[in-house]
């Protein structure tokens, strides 16, 4: 049984497989928000980008890591080049 932290690491390893370091310009990649959400049996790892004027963020990557088996299921793996045309949220205070 993986801990939540171990599951996050598994998810991030999958992310790096799909988006090797340097493929996405570092400054652009860093505009994203890396989050992890624990649920009953799985931990969801995701990288989202807040878009100006949009309620929901753009999901570049989302994976579910089964903490019992260690299996990782990629739920979302978007074309990172879409980020190039996006106008990111510039909020500097707490907001959803």
């Amino acid at each position: 049984m993986l801990t939540d932290d171990e599951a996050i690491t598994v998810g991030l390893r999958k992310y790096r497989e799909l988006f090797p370091q340097g493929v996405i310009p570092p400054d652009l990649e860093e505009r994203g928000v890396l989050s992890a959400i624990p649920e009953d049996h799985a931990t969801f790892v995701q990288l989202t980008f807040g878009i100006r004027g949009q309620r929901d963020p753009f999901y570049l990557f989302k994976a579910a890591v089964d903490r019992a088996s260690g299996d990782v299921t990629v739920l979302i793996a978007s074309d990172w080049k879409k980020l190039l045309d996006m106008e990111f949220d510039e909020s500097d205070f707490l907001c959803p």
Binding site: R16, L34, E39, P57, D89, S91, L94, C95
Partner: protein, 399 residues
Amino acid sequence: MNLNRYAENNPVAMTDPYGLQATARLGNGGGSELNRIMLDAVRGASDGPGGLASSFLTNTTFGTEISSSIVDPFRSMSCDLNNEAASINPALQPITSVKEFLREQEVLDNTRLARVEVTPGSRWIYDKLVRNQRNMSAQDMLLYFRQMEQENVDYKASEAAWDAKVRQVESFIPGANVGHMLRDAIRVDYGWETVDLYASGRFGLNGAAEPSKGDYAESFTTLASFGQIGSALRGSQQALTQSSRSVSAGRSGPVFGDARALTSAQRTLLGESNASVTETTIAKRAVSMNDLRNLMLHTGDEFAMPTRQGERMILRGLEGKVPQLSEASAKEFAAAGWRFSGHTHTSGYQAVGSLGDKAVLNAFGQKQSAVWGATWGSGPGRFFSSVMDEINIRLGLDG
């Protein structure tokens, strides 16, 4: 010093306005109504030194709740002749001596909030702790009136209102006539900040609704608690509906349907954070993120919580944001020694970080923080200050 356990069965060593005597058998003098009640209360109890083996001062369920979540300087004291709390939770250790209660005077001097429950037969406690203003040194006092018509509670309530220590009043009101009793007690010139009315029984609703009419609705500096009449009357759907209509100011109930009934501690905190975009400092153990989750569900506002040593700053935002916690203010918080413990997201949003959240987190100089979503039972989501740093550290890569 364990204030939750008052083990010494010492009789009351003071002159009681109702004739309670320290030296009498069972710790009670004879003749007064109170003594009769007191004797009833101790009936069947063993005769320890000085008597009063049964409790007349206990931590009630309120006290239990508080003691599990709030440490000094918060304190909960209740007067409970019938020892209801112990019957609810036998593990509770009763307070058995007013003397011992008073022995904690030094502690009470530093008590931020004292809760005093006035129940049938315990009015002398009220007199000692409130009216005389000499045996309770708490800065703020929260009175619980277990309503009893024969106890002339409206008189007591109105009298207590002149005590500047009384900041909040909660009345638990069974039966009729409560409106008449409280109508005069809840006037603007009494200066209470919050009033919660718990009405039950056939005529309870009418009574609870009456103070919300007309000018009385303007009588509070805090109406949030008043608006909780609806939730307080959860036990009666009919009452809930009617009370929601009758409340003329403040919210008539939780904003989000998943809200749970507020605990006493949450009501207190809501009284302090009684408007959007406010800040309240509270003892660290007095509040959890689940408390803030419930307050978010009740108010519809996002909450955030920086922590510094033994205290927490509760920031109540406005709807889905906390504008007062910005990148700039977060730097100031951090410089003052605060750390960002977590925040809530309102219903409809995932428990994930946003760019604004990330900016605040970076301003605090922290690597990660947590977000509590609206769903009960769900754990907090975590978000990180840097995408690449987090990946590189976890995967053992060079940055």
